[in-house]
Symmetry: C2
Subunit: 150 residues, 2 copies
Amino acid sequence: MGKIEEAIQQKEFKDPYNKAVVNLLFTHSYLVTAQNALFKPHDLSPEQYNVLRILRGQNGVPTTVSSIQERMLNKMSNASRLVEKLKMKELVKREECPTDRRQVDVVITEKGLELLQILEKQVEEGNREIVRLTLEEANQLNDLLDKLRG
Amino acid sequence: MGKIEEAIQQKEFKDPYNKAVVNLLFTHSYLVTAQNALFKPHDLSPEQYNVLRILRGQNGVPTTVSSIQERMLNKMSNASRLVEKLKMKELVKREECPTDRRQVDVVITEKGLELLQILEKQVEEGNREIVRLTLEEANQLNDLLDKLRG
DNA sequence: TTGAATTTAATGTATATACATGCAAATTTG
DNA sequence: CAAATTTGCATGTATATACATTAAATTCAA
C-alpha cells in the first residue's frame, strides 16, 4: 500500500492539509473495510456495534436515543433507526421513559452483552493488527487527530 | 472539541491502537460533515466530486469505469452508479469503448470542468481551514497515516 | 393558564456503501 | 474452433448517512 500518492494514483496535492484530508478519507475506508469483514459473520454493522458499546458503558442505566446520538462516532447517524434494528434482534430493550414521555429508555439485553463480549475481543485484536504503527506512533497519531479537530 | 475521550464521552481505550481507530473514525465524520456543507449548494456529493477529479486528471483521455473504481477513495464504492448520476447532470459523457465492447469510456464534459474549477477552490481553502495543524504537523500526520496502512 | 416555542423521537426521501448476482463480451484452453 | 473461464459493467437488496419534516410532550411566557 504505502504512500497515498501511489494508492490512489494522484501525483501531487495542493498542500499538506489537502493531502491530509484525502489521506484520512482513504485510511478510513481501509479501516472500515477491514472491520466490516469482522462484523459480517455476526450479522452486525460497525454502527450497531458502536451503539451496543455505548449502552454497555451505562452499566444498566437506561439511555435515551438522543444521548446515544450524541456519543456516536458519526454525529449525523440515526440512532433511532439503529436502535430499532437492534431491538428486532433482541439485543436491546426499548421502553417509554416514565418521567418524560417524549423520551425512550434504551437498555442492552443479556443477549446483547454476550454478543458484545465475543465481538469486542476480536475487534480489539483486529485493531492492533491493522494499525501498523509502534505504540509511540499510535500516541502521536492520536495527538495529531485531536489537534486537527481543534 | 479537543480530546477524543471528551468528544464521545468514553473514559478510556484498550490501548493506543484501538484509540487511534476510534479517533480516526470520529475525525473522518468531522471532516465529511464539513465537506458536505460545501458540496450541498452545488448539488454534488463528495463521492461524485472525487470521480470528477479523477476524470479531469486524465486530461481528456477516456477512462473506464473499473479504472475509476480503482482510484476512488472508497474502494467498495460503486463507480458505475456514480457515473450514471453524473451523466444525468451532464457532467460526464459515457461511450462504448471501440476496442472492447465490455468497457465504457467515461470523459468529463466542459460543464463538468467548469463546476470542478469553482468547487475545487472552495474545497482546497476549506480543507486548509478545517485541519487545525501546522504544516509540519500535517506532514507528520500524512507519514503516520501512510505507515498505518502498511 | 393558555398559547407559542422547544425538545425528543420517528419517519420520509435521496444518496452512498457493501456485497451478491446477472449478463454479455472477451479471452483462454482443450 | 467450441467450450469454459474471466472480465467489465449493471443491477438488486440491505444497511447507513444526510437532512427535512412531522407529531407528541414539555417548557416557557404573556
